[in-house]
Amino acid sequence: MAINWFKYSSPASFYSLAGKLTPLFSITAFILFVVGLYISFFVAPTDFQQSEAYRIIFIHVPVAWMSMFLYLIMAGWAAIGLAFNTRLSSMIATAIAPTGAMFTFLALWTGALWGKPMWGAWWVWDARLTSELILLFLYIGFMALQAAIDDPRRADKAGAILALVGVVNIPIIYFSVKWWNTLHQGATVSLTQSPKMATTMLTGMLIMSLACWMYSIALVLMRTRTIILERERHTVWVSELQGAA
């Protein structure tokens, strides 16, 4: 049985698939958020050092992970769109950028609110913080560049090149704590070593990360559907859709 990989690569067929998937991911995200928040505030114990301030970890780390993860996914789709000239791939990349920018802003925001009581400063020109700020500028630059070009297909190409150039920033962010070792602490969670966090704290953080992930998928699918409608408004299937509505 040969799988037809390209069944959902056309905007029209993807539109209906995304429509069916969106509620699935948004309900999962909602449930995971509720469970994650419950663990963060009512199950995870008080930290011996930071007392309650450490609870910011339950939002700071997930959004920071998502800001890097979403950029890689965006660059991936942009590369596919650039290489294969598939306009749906570029639409997905365009749809990811705002959510990625939001998570990057939240990573900086929650980090600053955690840094003030613990480090005594809202902002420090630390390697990790600075490279995360650059990531925010990359996201905004990507969106601005695409908005500045009228023809969507050319905007996709230009955005793809910018996104691919910016990919180098992601490992820099990730390893900045080790290479420069300025202020931000090193990686606490690793797939190889044994966990350095209390189990309930770690589970709470991982559930919140999954919740952010499900939320991103649901939201990007919704935004992609809107972009598909915007760009395909002159097609027959969209007018049929309107006729049916």
Binding site: F42, A53, I56, I59, L113, L219, T226, A245
Partner: protein
Amino acid sequence: MNWASWSDFFAMGGYGFYVWGSFLVSLLCIVGEITLVFNRRRTLLRQLSLIHKATQYEQNNETTS
């Protein structure tokens, strides 16, 4: 259950401003983003249906000049 009372919960060990500042802004951003996408979709669908009605109207009333 870590909290003796609700006020204890909101005080968050004296770090309430920072913890709630982080979580509330995150909630605001997420809810804000959802409403933005829904608005974008609704206005687009409204535009498309208007365009659709206009083209229907033109087709029906085509006067063969």
